[in-house]
Subunit: 408 residues, 2 copies
Amino acid sequence: MAKIAVLGYGTVGSGVVEVLSTNSSSIATRAGQPIEVKSVLDIRDFPGDPIQEKIVHDIDDIVNDPEIDVVVEVMGGVEPAFTFVKKALDAGKSVCTSNKALVAAHGPELLEMAKERKLNFMFEASVGGGIPIIRPLNQSLTADEITKITGILNGTTNYILTKMSKEGSSYEETLKEAQELGYAERNPEADVEGYDACRKIAILTSLAYGSTVNFEEVTTEGISKISTADFKYAEKLGCVVKLLATSYRRDEKVYVITAPFMIDSTHPLYNVNDVLNGIYVNGNVLGNVMFFGAGAGKLPTASAVVADVVDCVKHKGTNVMTVWAKTKLELGKTDDEVREFFVRINGDASKDADAVKAAFGDVSVITVDGIEGEFGFVTGEMTEKAFNEAAKKFSVINRIRIDKTILK
Amino acid sequence: MAKIAVLGYGTVGSGVVEVLSTNSSSIATRAGQPIEVKSVLDIRDFPGDPIQEKIVHDIDDIVNDPEIDVVVEVMGGVEPAFTFVKKALDAGKSVCTSNKALVAAHGPELLEMAKERKLNFMFEASVGGGIPIIRPLNQSLTADEITKITGILNGTTNYILTKMSKEGSSYEETLKEAQELGYAERNPEADVEGYDACRKIAILTSLAYGSTVNFEEVTTEGISKISTADFKYAEKLGCVVKLLATSYRRDEKVYVITAPFMIDSTHPLYNVNDVLNGIYVNGNVLGNVMFFGAGAGKLPTASAVVADVVDCVKHKGTNVMTVWAKTKLELGKTDDEVREFFVRINGDASKDADAVKAAFGDVSVITVDGIEGEFGFVTGEMTEKAFNEAAKKFSVINRIRIDKTILK
């Protein structure tokens, strides 16, 4: 019998308790022994709920309990999670977490603490919810040098963008609806401004290249400036707008960005809709692989956390090597990246097309019936720097980057 | 330095040697030490090729070499691969294989041999080529009870069906073209009759439920009876025809089948075209996850084999538990399965529709311009047994099962 503790009895924490109970027998088979939740840390009490008898309010009750082998941290946020996880590792307990903020900020330090103590620090649920992506990167794609990762890594924004695309509704009303349905937080900033996806691509990129992406250095744009009009142009181009979190290596530099992109129907993430996540990985010998599934939600996320618990129980006394050093990965400048851009400017297509072509090269102009006083166009491939220079001469309403990944 | 031997210097074997050389430095980081190919077993000689100095013709030269830790078996076929793998395990060497025939026939026995000796027997490349699916099933989806697996697991047939669908070409001419391009073998039976996909779904289902699917008991139909006319009806129904290998659990029984199915655009495998493979897995808490990628080919397959080699090197002296017992999994009867069917019969829609409805219920009749003397219809949900009974009364040209999996 392996005993575990859960830090935080919120959505994911209660999901972990539920999954361990629902699938107790198959989990015991996979882990080689039954797994039982002994203690749950929460500041609240849950009178009348069977969990109450396991509730503790002091982390030391867990840390000092020699029966507990594995601690599940699902509180979210960097503190006090970071302090609690360090205490647990120091006390000889492996840790599994779904907390991307913690992993993005302190992943390599916690991995090293675990390794020195022959313990494990696992975080499959921190990216892609229930989709296996951390373990595949660590253990399955080890023969490859990863050349590109592109993901739809945030379910909230994907829900909003899908809804805007299919129903022509505005950003504001769709966000409000998503909040009412519980798909978006009351303070939606972390999702809609791309901060959540940014941390996730920082984690994946760090694992792919073995050293640390400082997420604060990642160019990050959210979806709050995407409008109904943008989707009308996108439709004319056979495209949708998606919040992509992407990184790739070129000339020994790694470029990372989280931003809205236009993608067409040949793009492997074109059909990843609603709250689904999708992650595309390119390896230099493997070619392309894709992973799709529920990127969030109580049970899918809990499923990934519990899979980590099973792995920790199986590997008691042995560290499962994860290559992620504290060394900082030098990122390439977004200014130097080369891509196409979709642009909307104030003006009249018939009068201003020549000036646009003089600045951006031989672009094709797009107008949409019912949208007056402006027009759109798609540039050829150019650096972000050159684009920004050229754009200064115009009254730009919006510009959306274009991603051309093709899954062959 | 870990030293390995490769059995068979064919497509995959030479790929393994190439991948280990191309990515030697990143592989050394992931494995914790460099990996070198010391010997390659082949009946042939390769004069002038640098591999020649490593070629041996006698398996005992490898088995008796104490420097060799890991043996890669990429010969294909059950014998002599089975004998050689047993010899290697007996001599204390872990084994990695891409050989689905071997794994489907003797997987649990070889896993047990490896476990008893604190070695590993790994076979990621045996299903889905470069797509990580075996390790995710073993190590990532351990919190779940798997309820359904559906895959496009054979690239050759998917290439043929995609081509027939898009170009309206016949089965015979498309097969010939696939053979000329090297996508199909000169004797294409293993692919086109579904035997390859059948072994792969037997392996995945065995891993999902922890006991053995006897692949000889799996209902298996190939694609050789699929015609241009079938695709014309499919197009009218908004469907494509795919060779699916699928298993699911219902009322404590597991149903497994490999056969052509019609699927519509809401199906998660609808867009898996050409030589790509796609695998959909449903878990009781996870919901749906999907894996896509190159299901075959020299380098993608070698990438999966080498990832197994890395895992074997990392886990020297420790068996990575795989739950797959020799116990036979009792399969449900295909006769008891419930689904819809697309049917084509000889006759005249206007005259025979009533008889069809009397036999199959309230079906909707489909006719295709230019296809005379016959018509098609889609049944409601019924058992295979009831379908077969009803079909006896008609001159059936073809019937194709319909799969309704929806990825939410």
